[in-house]
Amino acid sequence: MAEMLTTADGIPLKAALARAQSRARRKALFLVLPLLIFTLLSFVLPIGAMMARSVHNPEFVASTDRGTGAVTPIMQNLKGWFDANPLGTEPDEAAYAALVADLAHLQETKASGSAGTRINYDLPGTLSLFKSGARGAGKLEPPFKESLLADDARWGDPKLWQAMRAATAGVTADFYLAALDRTRAADGSIVQAEENRQIYIKLFLRTFGLSALITFVCLLLAFPVAHLLATLPMAKSNLLMILVLLPFWTSLLVRTSAWMVLLQEQGVLNDSLVGLGLITEDQRLAMMYNTTGTIIAMTHILLPFMILPLYSVMRTIKPSYVRAARSLGATSWTAFRRVYLPQTLPGIGAGGLLVFILAVGYYITPALVGGASGRLISNMIADHMNDTLNWSLAAALSAILLAAVLILYWLYDRLVGIDKLKLG
């Protein structure tokens, strides 16, 4: 048997190699680690924690003080009754007694807002019911069922009891149901929301539809420009490239406000059209604060993200292929369609996916120029964050949007490769 190969100091070669390799791996990992930890802590974790809000909403059973962060348990008597009685039990006197005791406790702890807001998400208008109920609970006499219903008959609504039972669990999928325009009927089954409250699915479809349209328009505009840049001599194409890169480097708010100036009713474009006599004073085009404005401004902002990947692919296509096709008798259209276009597909895929991903999550431009009709899902999320304060619904909508974006991101990685991403 051959002697085992060893290094000069007698260690088996295989072990020495393994040790050297693992040292190299550790060194490489050590370089990446600070950033990886930073990103995980201040980016991945916060987003994960926010997503958790979409299924975890304890506001009905725990009130959090906004100033100190102290948590007070509330509605515990009612929670006990729900735990003891299965779904479908008619609320009896014990249930109402528990409810009244909890309402009185809400008044003591000033927590009627927390519990009421949570139920208000499911049944609009119940926040005031909880507030007035908490105020009057101390004065009620047994039997509580009659006295509470006499105070406000809405307390007998089976839908309210259904909502309260769901809310005591703390963990719920209801916000996802709401985000998909579904709601729970009194018996717990899932049904479509009322016609006039079905807004989210439509908005998701609008967002994806508009993003697809913008991606398509970007492709139409980017293709000729990228082709021109790729076929011109270097000196000239570098000069023209500046015209593409300057918008890319210019502030987003500058470009958005520039489009407002150009497109608004008393703006430069309308004035020029009136001045040229193409339209009259009262025919001024409404191109701002609607879908048109959003599409134009977003196309302009995202166009460089389409031109750059297309250009870098087109640069590598040899002109001799098209010339060969032509010399073999193809018309210029056939040569383009059968020989040139297929070679640009990687660029179309890379640019298209990137533009679509960026468009789906767009916020600033639709918020400023979109008006009421040009809004996208991001703007709805911001509304729920800032105005209605329904953070759990905002989180559920975000989770759906994020899932869509991450699937596209994964697709981009598979088809193009993240390391192929280039800027300028």
């Binding site: 980016f43 926010m50 210019t250 708010l253 520039a258 302009h300 949007l401 990685d413």
Partner: protein, 317 residues
Amino acid sequence: MAIPTYASPLERTWAWTYRVLCVLIFVFLMAPILIVIPLSFNAEPYFTFTDKMLALDPDGYSTRWYDLLLTFGMKAPDAVRDGGWWADMWANSTWLKAAKNSVIIGFWSTILATALGTLAALGLSRPEMPGRKVIMAILISPMIVPIIITATGMFFFYSNPCGILQWVGISAQCGRLTSTYTGVILAHTILGIPFVIITVTATLSGFDQSLIRAAASLGANPRTTFFKVILPLILPGVISGALFAFVTSFDEVVTVLFIAGPEQQTIPRQMWNGIREQISPAILSVATILVIISVLLLASVELLRRRSERLRGVAPA
């Protein structure tokens, strides 16, 4: 793109149509950026060219909106412009305050993003790196994740950074990062990192790894190797990554909307206010200044790119 002499009339027509089309697309790209420059000198509070402006009458033009940028927010804007006036402006002008904030936040987030990003890029470009693809995907994701999701996630996290501990059963309360410079700087660092990673790994892909071994064989320790061999060669990529990170921070408004307090208002935040409330030509004078800044930044990035190509031995453009 010369039209060959044998081209048919149809092909000739198409070639010209194609050229006109390209010119129109370039106009579409540049027009909005160029239009704000003359309009920012409008003497009237309109967003369109007045008759006087079209007639090139000097009365139609003024620098009043630039003046407004300086004086807005001052205690005594109409006082005589002596030393006291300038001190008042330096201390109180709203836009100047915003500019200072933008520079402070941009500077520190760029430093952080560049330092962390360059280190990580060095690790990622080593062939031994375990889990390279996954880590790269995580580090690039801040560029891909919709900004509103990033901003809301950070808002909750920064309002009580220790709140995260409740997931492991500890109920803790510690200082908040919302309405602080640190919070905004950290948020902008995260957003700038993908750009640094992308540009530096691109530069490193053309980097000859045997130079490191050569340096080591000549007796250099890893530190010396980094500062004397690696850094000078990848510096153009690092600087252009830093510029990208700076521009990202300098142009960022959504996380500022959610995280920053009244003390951390930046230029984009002020513009956002201006556009939403009453848009005045003052916005256009800010826009003009920002366009000039972006021209300067683009020029530096282009110069760096050419230098980098020269250093890496790629034929200069």
